[in-house]
Amino acid sequence: MWMSWLAALALAGLLLPRTPGAALAIVAGQSLMAINFFFLDKLVKLFTHAMAPRTGNRQIPGRFFAFATLKVLLVYGGAFALIRTRAVPFLPLTCGLSLLLLVLFLQSLMRAAGYAASPFARRAPQTAATSGNAAKLAAFFFTLALLAAPVLAHAGDTATQAAPVQLAQHDPAQPTTPANPETATQSEAAATAHAHGEAGAEHAEGGEAHLPNWIVILNDYFPDNPVVHWMHENEYLVFAWLAGLVFLVFTWIAMRKPTLVPGTLQNAIEWIVESMEDVCGGMLGKHLPKYFPFIMAIFFYILTMNLIGIIPGFKSSTSTLDVTLALALITFLYVQINGIINLGPLGYLDHLAGSPRDIVGFAMLPVMIPVHILGELVKPVSLSCRLFGNIFGEDTLIVVFVGVAALALKASLTALAVPPMAGITALFMLLQTLTAIVQALIFSLLTTVYLYMMLPHEEHAHGEAGHEHA
């Protein structure tokens, strides 16, 4: 809960200098939702208390109705009044409303990951305690990730102005760069105006090509709807949330009724988790329970995001550098913070200096420190570029094949074009599945390796830490 307040205040602070109205709206939406949840909490407690069989009388207390009335009046009345009077802009209000939901959703997501980390029937008790804390941490990092994505995208906007490289190939295309809510509000009118005018025509020959997804199609049908427009501007974010949701629902279905003899889905998830546990456990040893929820959360999140892109009409969020960079930066921060916690501030500095123990080591200090710092800084770059490049490359391949098929269709060479192209596309989709799994695995395993290097180990060689994974 407090995290959403933090996020709301941070966002509001970010917006305050330029658009005070938007900042106000975010805070208003946030408080409205907080009140809503407060009342919901009370109502549910009262209701379940009344319905519990042991209380005997199935009377719903009067307080229930009082709370319900108050809630309806305050929350819905408030929301209605806010929207009706147009006291605050619409988009930031929605933003504020959704922030709390988002945080709750992410928290439950991470809980699910922590859950999945312990095949319940066998060793629930010992992991449950640790996974709770780790899940909170992971949820926080993921909130940061999702917040960071639009901000990074905004930074990326300036970069892409130099080399304008994004367009949809088949649609009268709109700028596909996700912009942050701030830009969305400010340039909303302008963007809607030239969303159709600025076709991909002049750029269509170079740069990235995207297959249209359902958000693009939705945007074509409802070009003036602000929500659809926002979704279109931030389609990577939407698909990232969707991926989280899919993963959450899947885990929930699989682990809803855990049995000692697992069913198909439960078996699948337990197999994934346990084999990952084996691999990571080999490196992390007794530190595994502390880090495992984070690693698994990263793994499942990336896996879902990768795999969702294979479904026609959907898009991999990881095929943009913004999302992967956000994920990699989170991993980087997590690793560094854990390094400081594990090694202690002095030990961390010692690690950065390459653990000099003899006279030669100390003589090499001026060289070793920059090398090690560079080695640390290169990690997120290589992590994010690897994931982005692989997923994006596979996506582009499919787009190229579909484009060839579309060209042949245009020239009415159906018999010639479609069967072989469908075959090739299907083949590469198989390959894409493999890439998706392997890349998710590599990302999480590298996270494990980085974490392992930050552990206080006597036996492992510090000297390799800097160069090995640069």
Binding site: V165, G206, D278, G282, C385, F388, L446, V449
Partner: protein, 77 residues
């Protein structure tokens, strides 16, 4: 030979070179891993994991070239 032409010539060649290097690296890696697996089948999972991670690193080099190409591709016009 202007800038765009140079870029248009150099980018595919660059990717090809990167792919050659990565291919050689993958070949060495795969050979080593296969030999190790053949010699000691009982540590197969460990070798496989290390192999996949190594593949990731090697493959990343080509991917870097690929990403660079996409960043620079917009300038060929």
């Amino acid at each position: 030979m202007n800038f765009a032409a140079t870029l248009g010539l150099a980018l595919p060649i660059g990717i090809g070179l990167a792919a050659i290097g990565s291919g050689i690296g993958l070949g060495f890696m795969g050979r080593g891993a296969m030999e190790a697996m053949g010699r000691q089948p009982e540590v197969l999972p460990k070798i496989q994991v290390a192999m996949i991670i190594g593949f990731g690193f090697i493959e990343a080099l080509t991917i870097y070239a690929f990403v660079t190409m996409f960043f620079l591709q917009g300038k060929i016009q």
